[in-house]
Symmetry: D3
Subunit: 188 residues, 6 copies
């Protein structure tokens, strides 16, 4: 899989979570995970999570975004597992960059106290699976109480780079694990 | 999925990682995750990970074991993702029970410094997928440098109960997430 | 899977056979089968079966409807098998409620003599599989010769309740069967 | 799919429920359903259903057997649905040949009163799915209370021929249904 | 699978590469491959290959077209393999009809020198997989340097008939191969 | 995928067509295609193709072998398509190295006149798919009339290298094609 950090500021409105956006925007062909920074305001038309449709909205003034598209294994159940693992990986990276913050993962969300640090969704297209995961870089613009990398004193770019690399390494190690295991038989 | 803690001490030798062992031993029908305590010595015949075949052996005098069998989604790639998420969940539970220990997850393994806390494998049978995950309860009996729950001052039963519940809750929330998401279309 | 009978009269026009309608209308999250009563007039835009597009139309003044959405196993071939089994189950329930009626199943349709008792379709969405199955509660409104529960002297609500329960029980028993069977090998 | 009735008497011991037995015995290449008559005594080694391992045994002095192997869609969940539909089809055929017998289907089993008419299992091999379904032709030899075609005054060969044809026709109509349906979209 | 040659001239604009076009146009139900002759001008809206969207266009004044829809195995990875095999089969047929032409296959394209003989795409719909493959019958109308059947002195109809038959035979032999092979186990 | 040519002579007896042989022998982790030279004598126990079990045997004194294991997409139907494409690729490579030989592909076999140049099988293991493809390097040792690279005046090593590279390139281009295509909708 390709990993890429884009220095362009991109305003995320949910339309980026579509098949082949990573190809069109960054020229990346195949499974890819890209990080970038920018504001967030997801339109109702582009909301994938039906639970959000009647909610307070999905927004933030300044977030670090990750968009992951996979063509090789486009199953929704797998995509949700990958999304949960991505959230756990983000928490692990933050735990090293800023130990003792009390950060915790609840499903696909990261929290510090009652402040929500992240947003996320996993879904499918007719040809791929897609994950969006984003954390607040600085405070502001969200319809709910938030926490941000700035308040955690974590540098957004450093966090993003480390997360991109950690995900790529773990996907590589998952492929290796799959290729090294013998099947098992019946108990009796 | 069923979760269950067994108070019986069971000596794990790898043969328990077979289809329908949970059914035969505990009468559990369908997807289930069971925890128990006991020594560990995996025979070469029962080793699923080929990387272990020529290694120092898989053993421990006193471990907390988890065996997870899934019939509903028996794909190996998914199973490895589940295994990684299980390891992350175990680290998260330990992070709450014993903050500041320096525990870290590397793939499916948990470490404290250069002490290996856990062992794990994910594989498939012709009818299911299987995961074994175990952490050292007390020190001793392992062919490598280890860390243990005892050294972390974590009570094994409390840890196991919390992990079982966390996994069941997250699998439930994964099913909910899958059932609430809309598909997305093409970028252009 | 959830089963639910709704006392609300709902006019079925085919738009209900869409992803997450059961979630939006009844708040049911995950695999669910819901029954309700109401007239039927499927618009051409909402017809899933291409064989119906140039046909006499799909309509009935008063029908008992069932809508089944499944996220856990959204394969079209499986969905058609489930639909056929659902039709068979409906015939079995009716055979108990009204023995000797001469009811017969032909594919996904139920007939008494030359009177068509039911309509049905199985299809997929990008995130789920969907089945619609409906039987005429009282005569009238259909573009073809029909039979109805009223003419069979079967109380619609009783029929619906029994069918919902029978389907849920059989899906449960199918899951149990899948979890209790050993794979087989080669003949030689 | 091929359907075939064999006039040879074959003693069924469970070993016939293996991959490519239909190929080796009858020269049939590909998906096939074959019927034959013969005694039944399934050895423990060949029992696929773990629920039977500690039971009274699976036996009958004179049964009409059906063995169905499918290479085109070898999924276990689908195989169990097919098995249930096969049982329903058998009940429907018997309902025409012998109306008013009080025959009922419970899962994969057919009953008349407290007499068990049939046995069945669905499983998988590494390359296919397999179904065995058999009904007692005449009474005797079973470890449980049974009913038989003879007691129902149904001629075994006629029953078998009609069931083989009904299954082939319905599989054909299922393929047609799958090829004629449009997908549906989101409710909102 | 059905194979069919249509004598009607059909102007291909890409809209024919949609689910159930073969059903609507030719009344073919199920997996089918149809050949016909006609001009080609694919509109941007109907281009499936994103690489073509900003390219010189897909057009030809007189081509022999093949459209293949498969409901039985609608996986995109398989569809691309089938498409490549189809291109190879076309080259093999042409190699017999016109030996020594220097025809070569590069991915899904056929070339003679620097003249492009064919165009092709493989994609999916929500219910099927689709392949379009077309070769220039006579020169002209293309935005790139081309080669044509006419320049190769190959009669278009003869070529099409032979290719249709070759594909059908090979798909049949692939099904036979799948049904005759035993699974293998572990090396150690 | 990895490609590798081994200079070691290896006597192929069919046992090499097992899961993880490429890992054990060459240390290759993940999808891999390896070529080597050596005699061939497949034992009955290791024959995967049931059609060969009662045949003249599978043997050759000196062959160029290819073993391909894939963990990423271990479907048997796909494996057979890959095998056919591999045979076509071998024919294409030979057509360039030795034009005008009259070489033709029939299914998975290559022929020159009535001389059989190659043998092949595609199968699955519980964790992967496997393909064996081999061509006679020099004449002799086969139970049927053969053709060989030597008789075609093709240098075995050059052929093998070119085929390995062609397969790797085409698998790469297949992945690219899958990642660049838009799905299509309904005809009406």
């Amino acid at each position: 899989m390709h990993i890429h950090w884009s220095d362009d500021e991109i305003a995320y409105d949910g339309s980026q979570l579509r098949a082949h956006w990573l190809l069109a925007r960054f020229g990346l062909v195949g499974d890819a995970l890209v990080g970038f920074r920018g504001p967030c305001r997801v339109t109702a038309d582009e909301m994938a999570d039906l639970a959000d449709l009647d909610g307070p909205g999905i927004a933030g003034a300044d977030m670090v975004h990750f968009v992951w598209e996979s063509f090789a294994a486009p199953d929704l159940l797998l995509a949700v597992h990958r999304q949960r693992l991505l959230s756990a990986q983000a928490a692990e990276v933050l735990g090293v960059l800023r130990p003792g913050s009390g950060l915790r993962r609840s499903g696909d969300d990261l929290w510090v106290g009652d402040g929500k640090l992240s947003i996320s969704i996993a879904t499918v297209t007719p040809v791929s699976s897609l994950i969006h995961f984003a954390v607040n870089a600085t405070a502001g613009g969200a319809p709910v109480r938030t926490m941000s990398l700035s308040e955690l004193q974590v540098e957004p770019h450093a966090f993003a780079r480390q997360l991109l690399e950690r995900v790529a390494e773990e996907q590589q190690s998952i492929d290796v694990a799959r290729a090294k295991v013998r099947a098992k038989g019946e108990w009796r």
